[in-house]
């Protein structure tokens, strides 16, 4: 009976993710550690970084000891991948203690960073704390586009140096390439950059409204004309999306959870629906009893009533979080997703 005690195949993680989804285990947790950032990206969803941080989004940040307790509780509930985000997570002074705590719990820490601060000293501290994985956001393929987008003059070179340094520390790096209207036509250069460094990459072309209620971030999204061009270009497959299985819901509150800087729990860090407060309740109680989570978990296909009858549904990759941020309707139509789905629909015969 004790045969095949160990299985090894490439789909282990996919299967585990599915089990966690079916059984509502928060396998992937994201913790916001700070809203401060050394960049001032024009599209940043936190708040409009051309002005100072609004009081209403600051809240009272969790103290280091509170974060540690939250990490323990998340790991107890099944969190295996714990990602630290910001703002710029590396600006949080106790980030190394939090990473150590994740390792202490035998889970996997990841840090989401813009990569600018990856000095020798920081890489060394990350490595010593146990961090072996970084998700680095890439904003452009040259200094000029970096400066225009992030406001940082020497961003591109600094990030590249940081990436190379982190690679020399044997860190697993993943690029999250942020595509916007000013860099999307550089896609070939961006891919070459990742491939030259041997770093796996994914694209994000989603630019949402900000959590402070401002919407000017969306002015920087890829335009429909640009999308149309990309769908005809050499990398067209990267922009195609086939949703013929009509899936409208994501992993929110099932195998994914987000923890805000102030201890507020969200179904996903990209879906800012307050669902409990860790200053008042344990994570377990919130995860099991939150009314918001229960509602999300009970959603059925027909609850996405706009989507079910939508002409563009088979080309749409909506995210409920974005629909909530952009249109204040978690199950409704996301106007940004609609714009893209319409262009894909027009080009569908080429795929």
């Amino acid at each position: 009976m004790v045969r095949k005690l160990i299985k090894k195949d490439s789909s282990i993680l996919d299967q585990t993710t599915q089990v966690a989804f079916d059984k509502c285990i928060p396998l992937f947790a994201t913790i916001e550690t700070t809203l401060g950032c050394n960049y001032s990206c024009v599209h940043c969803y936190n708040f409009d970084r051309s002005s100072s941080m609004p009081e209403n989004i600051k809240g009272r940040p969790l103290k280091k000891e509170e974060f540690i307790r939250v990490i323990d509780e998340l790991c107890d509930a099944g969190a295996f991948y714990i990602s630290f985000t910001g703002g710029e997570a590396l600006l949080y002074p106790h980030i190394y203690s939090l990473i150590e705590r994740v390792i202490h719990n035998k889970s996997m820490p990841r840090v989401k960073t813009n990569g600018h601060l990856l000095t020798e000293e920081v890489c060394n501290k990350l490595y010593k704390a146990g961090c072996r994985a970084l998700d680095i956001s890439i904003y452009g393929a040259d200094e000029k586009s970096y400066k225009n987008f992030t406001g940082m003059a020497d961003g591109y070179n600094k990030v590249l140096e940081g990436v190379k340094r982190a690679l020399s520390f044997d860190m697993e790096i993943n690029f999250n390439i942020i595509l916007h209207k000013d860099n999307c036509m550089d896609i070939g250069k961006l891919i070459k950059l990742a491939e030259t460094l041997g770093v796996p990459y994914q694209f994000s072309d989603e630019v949402t409204a900000r959590y402070d209620g401002t919407e000017s971030s969306q002015d920087f999204g890829i335009t429909p004309d640009q999308y149309n061009e990309l769908l005809k270009g050499p990398h067209k497959d990267l922009f195609w999306h086939d949703n013929s299985e009509e899936s409208f819901q994501c992993s929110c509150a099932r195998n994914v959870v987000g923890i805000g800087l102030d201890g507020v729990v969200y179904p996903c860090i990209g879906a800012p629906i307050p669902s409990g407060d860790l200053k008042e309740h344990s994570f377990k109680d919130i995860w099991n009893d939150s009314q918001e989570f229960k509602k999300i978990r009970e959603l059925k296909k027909e609850d996405f009533s706009d989507c079910v009858v939508c002409e563009f549904k088979h080309q749409c990759n909506r995210s409920s979080g974005s629909a909530f941020v952009n249109a204040e309707n978690y199950t409704g139509c996301d106007p940004m997703a609609l714009r893209v789905a319409q262009v894909r629909h027009k080009n569908k015969d080429s795929f």
Binding site: M1, L5, I6, V19, G78
Partner: protein, 91 residues
């Protein structure tokens, strides 16, 4: 292999029990992922640097109501696999 051996999980192995099966992630240069079934998961948790293999074998017999011979054979096979993967240490 001697049953007096005391083995433990390598420090930098991340693992989590999900639905009675343990997922192991080797955070070393190999960055490999493995999944143990429920019996393998039981043994893995016993590899704490305190129990020797004889104690673990008795625990397996008791937990799964199997003979000593079968438990020993399977335990040693499992330990051999774990050693090959380099995820346990000790002597």
């Amino acid at each position: 292999m001697l049953l007096t051996k005391i083995l433990s999980q390598r420090e930098d192995i991340a693992w989590k029990e999900i639905d009675e099966q343990i997922i192991l992630m080797d955070l070393g240069p190999k960055k490999m992922v493995h999944r143990l079934n429920s019996v393998g998961s039981f043994i893995w948790k016993e590899l704490n640097g305190k129990n020797d293999l004889a104690a673990i074998m008795s625990a397996v017999c008791a937990e799964y109501s199997i003979s000593k011979e079968l438990a020993e054979k399977d335990l040693l096979e499992f330990i051999g696999n774990m050693e090959k993967l380099g995820v346990i240490v000790g002597s």
